[in-house]
Symmetry: C2
Subunit: 496 residues, 2 copies
């Protein structure tokens, strides 16, 4: 059909291959200001009972944003909010009050420490859903977890919402968790304590995804966001475990030119990183790259030329944040790139080796990082599942027992990572290799001693006793999902 | 229901608030190698008759990739491909043969020069669909234009597909058009002539979006990709137009501290940039930011401290590409951030002023950039529509006439940008302001002389004669879309 459009032109509304709407007039864009206060932003984003609100945890135990937002929601007399934070720490103790007042009634996200302890004893009406970093990304991407309002803390932003965590007085490292929230949430609010001239330098989140920018006095407390320097373990037992890890990696032929690795920011992991740097230096070898949480121990090895490339995800000390802001071209690794199991390629699939921790391991090589042996849900999954499944060699480090609690045991209290993807357990009193990994067993034969996992369990039981059976009730406190969205385990309430 | 899952745990498949699938086993990720040749990559991506294949144009007139891919498709005996390139240049003359052999039968994307000339006379079975930069992004995002296979040229990539245009011997500046192709296409192939160690420094496209990486000898010819130095106009008439632009901007109160602007890489636009830098220097003023295609003229002003921030989109000379690779934190502006009309905020909505060119303008302030006055479709829309609608003040520069062809005229041959969003026409013989912009007319009153657009048209007709009426046929060669997807104009075949 021929029709005269608003520009006065006769156009066809249908041609081979297409149907078309006629031009209906043009006008200048008239963008509304985005800068406002938190209450106004939440109201304009349609805050109401029952919505899902997301946060990232990169301000860690210095975070001021979750508590501040929940207080504002309380003032607005809204209830039954589902939180979809990436993690929560002791600083979030006020969340307990928001739960008991009915402001929060549902949580999908990691809970560390005080709040986890509370919920373990006072379950929410809905079970807490725990996912790995990559699992959460995929759940949001696939709409399994729909976010109504994403709240994204930024240490610096411009008034349009281009923002970063790399610069500013509360800098915490690149924002790497929230890109998927920004992409999929109905509404997005940036919360910052530092507004700069447009356009912001460094932009992990860009204005096209942002509805409102909220300026507050303080998004967090720098001393609890990143450490000045991350502390390595000084415990000889843990140093021994770290050293044994290096021996195992060496025996397995992993320590060589071009190796790729991830090691975390816990005490043992930092020691592994440090010792690995020393052995690379001693043998004049160069690793291809390291990823994961970045610390000064890694940037030091990099600056000595013993790692070719660093991938920046989370930053765990202030040195690393500043390192990133001064070196052009260092790739920033968002969590999708790191670990999205539904993507066409994840950086962790390129790892020769990852070194992980645990609260418990069992004779099937299952690993628990979520609950303590008393059944309390005190930790999130983090990247544990993701990297274990991604790396070609997954090492879990644990002490054989802690006081009267055997850590290597018959059955873990909760399965976080299934034994199918765990290759070695390294303890202070010996190493066990997953019998499925005959390739590794063959490589290390006659180089280092290994024990069976049952032997380690027996040694643990001999020293610390047999674990007491927990008295579980029926109520489900939490659900542990595997990276593909299926359920690995239920955490049940402990009855005293 | 309680069920025992593959980890041996009894889990509930239904709780308050959710239904769950039981864990079904875990295994190590086993990623397949992505590095292969073009033919193999296309076959594995399911190449077949009728598919839509996309490209970016950032290798400009030095591009080797479109021709190479079409040759491979020809060798594979596949036909009826729909091309969805961002633009095409004279280097793509071989496309004419691929069209006449039926390998390409449909095009949605800009066509500059030789191929446009050919199609103007030999229309495709389907009309060519022309969209602005932002309009194309939105059309792909909304699935109006579905891409089966995206081919993304990169000057450097790693074997997993993390890639960039910023470094390497064929560097062309950051890849800024293809993020939406990578996100939405079914399959993605990176074509590069420089493979580096994983992970690539700078990563405009990341591995999670990439199916295959193809290494070829040469993606393009550097001398035709970016100029050593972009050439400013030496034509006194064009210099005069540029100077008049600056006078108009000054009279309108735009040249002040904190101003924001975009000016392109054409001869007049470069002169505007240069003169603007000079006046900023003379008046000791500092602009907030400049965006758009970046040239040395802009980085020079930036380095003198007369622009606070640069936003890097396309790079038009080698100086700028290298500038970006050496300065950390300079934000890279992808086309979605620049101009996606469906986003929550575009950088171009922050512009005080944009200076644009035209092939023709008319007394309704409509602008043509697509066809010449003889009716041939020789240019794409680029960011013309986007920036005209985004900037608070849109200036179009044109000579009053070219030889015997009046450029200011009664009706443009084709409407690219409707007069509703065009504020001033600056010619070598006078300036006309859109009567809708009474605010601007008031500001510049008694500062500079203005004419009505009809006066300019009359002057053009007096000097160059009245334009000949073109003899249009019925066949539609091309469709001009407005940024919202509606049809602004049809380009019809010219009958001789």
């Amino acid at each position: 059909m021929r029709i005269k459009n608003a520009a006065g032109r006769i156009i066809e509304t249908e041609t081979t291959g297409g149907k078309y709407k006629p031009f209906n007039g043009a006008k200048k864009y008239n963008s509304n200001p985005k800068l406002t206060n938190l209450s106004d932003a939440l109201i304009k984003c349609g805050l109401r009972d029952g919505l899902t609100i997301s946060f990232h945890h990169q301000l860690r135990n210095g975070d001021n944003v979750i508590n501040m937002v929940l207080k504002t929601i309380q003032d607005l007399k809204i209830k039954n909010i589902r939180l979809a934070q990436t993690a929560m720490f002791n600083v979030h103790e006020p969340v307990i009050n928001f739960i008991s007042e009915g402001i929060v009634n549902r949580i999908e996200g990691s809970i560390n420490g005080i709040v986890g302890n509370y919920i373990s004893k006072n379950p929410l009406p809905y079970p807490v859903v725990l996912r790995s970093h990559g699992g959460r990304w995929a759940a949001i991407k696939s709409d399994e977890l729909h976010i109504d309002i994403a709240i994204i803390a930024a240490s610096t932003s411009d008034v349009k919402g281009n923002c970063t965590g790399i610069i500013g007085k509360t800098a915490f490292g690149p924002i790497v968790y929230s890109q998927i929230d920004a992409l999929k949430a109905d509404r997005v609010i940036i919360v910052t304590d530092n507004i700069v001239e447009y356009p912001c330098s460094f932009q992990e989140i860009t204005e096209g995804f942002v509805d409102f920018v909220v300026k507050v006095d303080c998004i967090g407390f720098p001393e609890n966001i990143v450490s000045g320097t991350t502390k390595i373990t000084s415990d000889p037992l843990k140093q021994g475990i770290a050293y044994r890890c290096i021996e195992l990696m060496d025996a397995a032929g992993i320590i060589k030119n071009g190796m790729t690795f991830q090691s975390g920011a816990g005490g043992i992991s930092l020691a592994v990183t440090k010792y690995l740097g020393e052995i690379l230096e001693k043998k004049k070898l160069t690793a291809d790259f390291a990823i994961g949480g970045i610390t000064k121990y890694l940037t030091d090895i990099y600056e000595k030329g013993r790692i070719n490339k660093l991938y920046f995800g989370q930053c765990f000390d202030s040195h690393c944040v500043s390192f990133l802001s001064k070196n052009p071209g260092i790739p920033i690794l968002n969590v999708g790139h790191y670990a999205d199991p539904t993507s066409k390629g994840r950086s962790i699939d390129n790892l020769d080796v990852v070194v992980l921790g645990a609260t418990e391991v069992d004779i099937d090589f299952n690993v628990n990082v979520n609950t303590h042996s008393d059944g309390r849900m005190l930790h999130g999954i983090g990247g544990h599942q993701d990297t274990a499944a991604g790396a070609r060699f997954t090492i879990v480090t644990v002490p054989l027992y802690r006081k009267k609690n055997p850590i290597v045991r018959e059955k873990v209290t909760t399965i976080t990572t299934p034994g199918d993807v765990v290759d070695a357990i390294v303890t202070n009193e010996g190493i066990a290799i997953n019998p499925n990994r005959r390739d590794i067993i063959k490589k290390i034969k006659r180089k280092i001693d290994i024990r069976t996992i049952e032997e380690l369990k027996d040694m643990a039981y001999n020293s610390a006793g047999i674990p007491e059976k927990l008295n579980f009730g029926e109520k489900i406190v939490g659900i542990i999902k595997w990276i593909d969205g299926t359920v690995l385990d239920n955490i049940k309430i402990i009855e005293n």
